[in-house]
Symmetry: C2
Subunit: 339 residues, 2 copies
DNA sequence: GGGGACTGAACAATCGTTTTTTCAGGGCTC
DNA sequence: GAGCCCTGAAAAAACGATTGTTCAGTCCCC
């Protein structure tokens, strides 16, 4: 590739002038034709600034790392799209890492920043990564924003309005006439799970419905865990007539469990899931879900990180726009008549 | 972060010695205690070599880009895992891009290499990216390996044994007693689709079964396209009793279509899919699939690219190990008795 | 016509590594 | 004891870009 000095030689100017013209330095005074010669030379030689040279000089890599668990979830795509687009808009590149590969002792994250490969992180932690473990993972002064999660520390974060989302899901069951509503939630140590449960509780409370601990499960979001949770939920007496599953992938597992048990959905049991994704349309029955603005979380997270990089203090933001949206499909219906 | 010159100062040596000790330069002669001092200093200061400095000097970024369409498919996860692990093993980092965002006129790929951000590409093209368009996208001398696809040009490639996989799927239906077997394949312009169709044809031929063009659809791999294909297939007379769907995501759509039509699976119609993913276990009925070694494709692709980077000529490799594996679930059964 | 202000551009330092070249000193040989 | 070789390390150049400083020429004013 062409270098700046080649441009300069071709245009008959010094490197510094070439650089300044190409960067649009406002402090540079130049004759129009000099400018034009540089621009033309750059175009002819198909110039793009060498990344390493620039990064070295500026001590900025203009790259961000997005660290995610469970890349296999289609949900991930929305987040990635948002983050990618926001990053590209600011001429940043995005690196993807998997947080399930980042064990407690690993120094992958430290090194990424230490080597100057990235300027900061977007980190969606897996549910079993404690606040403490998180702090051990990254350098103290690392720029980082937590995605869909929070930490007591002074790190930035961008989260969904989990309370509102879970509440909307629960309210949907309430409005169908359900009075015995269960929850298949995340593990108790996760702040996300706690917020979703809060939304669930809130909706029940407002509907004057009794909240029974026996109808709540907190095993996690994977299809397998949610399936197990659903099975144990079905063994309660009386059992719920509707269940809120705090993650769509879990809901898919839950449907499988119900099918195994021979329980008709939505005839005997309604299922509504937090989060929407294309697969939800193709389950049987197609899942009623609450669509959350995951794409915007990606966008917002990048912006938040970028503003942190330019000196602003870390902030905790909640994405409320667009609002959680109920996507009604076929897995919910009024409860069966009382026997 | 600590720089080399800080290490050198602390150890009381010159920068060059520090660098060579830390890189294990075999040509360096040094007293053991000098070595030790450098090593200790590096450890004390928690040194990691600055990435930009090194990249600038070596003219190598030690980064690769993986460009993929449809990040939303869980299939993607396997490929990514393989590629990531292989890359990390060689101390390369991986950048993820979406090929559906890379339009014909875009110079994203050129720039990535032009700026020296990455040393080469792994590119899984979307089905509608022609050989010509591909060549326009990347610089002539770009190091690139095509993933699961080939091009007539002199680019490297790593592909699955599509023929064997599709053949295995078809043979499964044959062995169940089906004689009227359809195919829902990819678009005709795709080399992948052609190979899978070839495997299908081969299996039919070997079973002495007639191949009817009316039972073949070539609309593409998306759930929607495959659903449309399935519907039109069901309108043929006589209609097939079993269908090979050349992509698991398509098969999910196909099941939805059959459900809409009120056709019992597998009672009236058997469905077997190329590729396996976790969602296949949770459809109704759970999908019988052929699991392909996607993870190994990721590994192999990285290795292939790396060897190309170190001077070897591009190669076309077919991943045959592990061999395609039939994962029998519940979407296939013997054909219904002739009326 | 001499001095100051301004214009338009070159010079030069710097970022952190790697690597070739140079060099000082000590010990050995003859 | 002069020359040589060897050891162990320092010096220096280079990668490509950015940016503060310097500088040569021109114009204008008095």
């Amino acid at each position: 590739m062409a270098t700046l000095s080649q441009i300069a030689r071709l245009a008959g100017v010094s490197v510094s002038v070439a650089s300044r013209v190409l960067n649009g330095d406002p402090k540079l005074r130049t004759r129009p034709d000099t400018r034009d010669r540089v621009l033309k030379a750059a175009k002819d030689l198909n110039y793009t600034a060498n990344y390493a040279g620039r990064a070295l000089r500026l001590a900025r890599s203009k790259a961000l790392a997005l660290i995610i668990p469970a890349v296999s979830s289609p949900l991930f795509a929305d987040l990635l799209s948002g983050a990618t687009e926001a990053a590209e808009a600011q001429e940043y590149t995005l690196l993807i890492g998997r947080s399930d590969r980042i064990t407690a002792g690993s120094d992958t994250l430290r090194r990424l920043v230490g080597e100057g490969r990235v300027d900061g992180f977007l980190l969606q932690r897996s549910d079993d990564l404690s606040d403490q473990a998180l702090e051990n993972l990254v350098a103290n002064d690392a720029r980082i924003v937590l995605v869909t999660s929070r930490t007591p520390g002074r790190r930035g974060s961008v989260i969904l309005d989990d309370v509102a989302g879970a509440r909307l899901a629960t309210e949907h069951l309430v409005s169908l006439g359900h009075t015995r509503i269960g929850l298949i939630g995340g593990v108790p140590s996760s702040d996300i799970a706690r917020r979703r449960e809060q939304g669930y509780a809130l909706a029940l409370h407002e509907a004057n419905l009794r909240r029974r601990e026996a109808w709540v499960r907190r095993l996690g979001y994977s299809p397998e865990m949610a399936a197990a949770a659903m099975e144990s939920l079905m063994a309660t007496d009386p059992r719920p007539t509707g269940v809120v599953v705090a993650n769509v992938n879990g809901a898919i597992g839950a449907l499988t469990a119900l099918r195994r048990l021979g329980i008709d959905v939505p005839g005997e049991m309604s299922v509504v899931a937090y989060h929407d994704e294309w697969v939800a349309e193709h389950t049987w029955p197609p899942l009623t879900t609450v669509k959350m603005p995951y794409y915007q979380v990606g966008v917002q997270a990048v912006q938040s990180l970028l503003s942190q990089l330019s000196g602003s203090p870390p902030q905790d933001v909640v994405v409320r726009d667009p609002a959680p949206l109920l996507v009604q499909r076929m897995s919910t219906a009024p409860p069966p008549p009382r026997p």
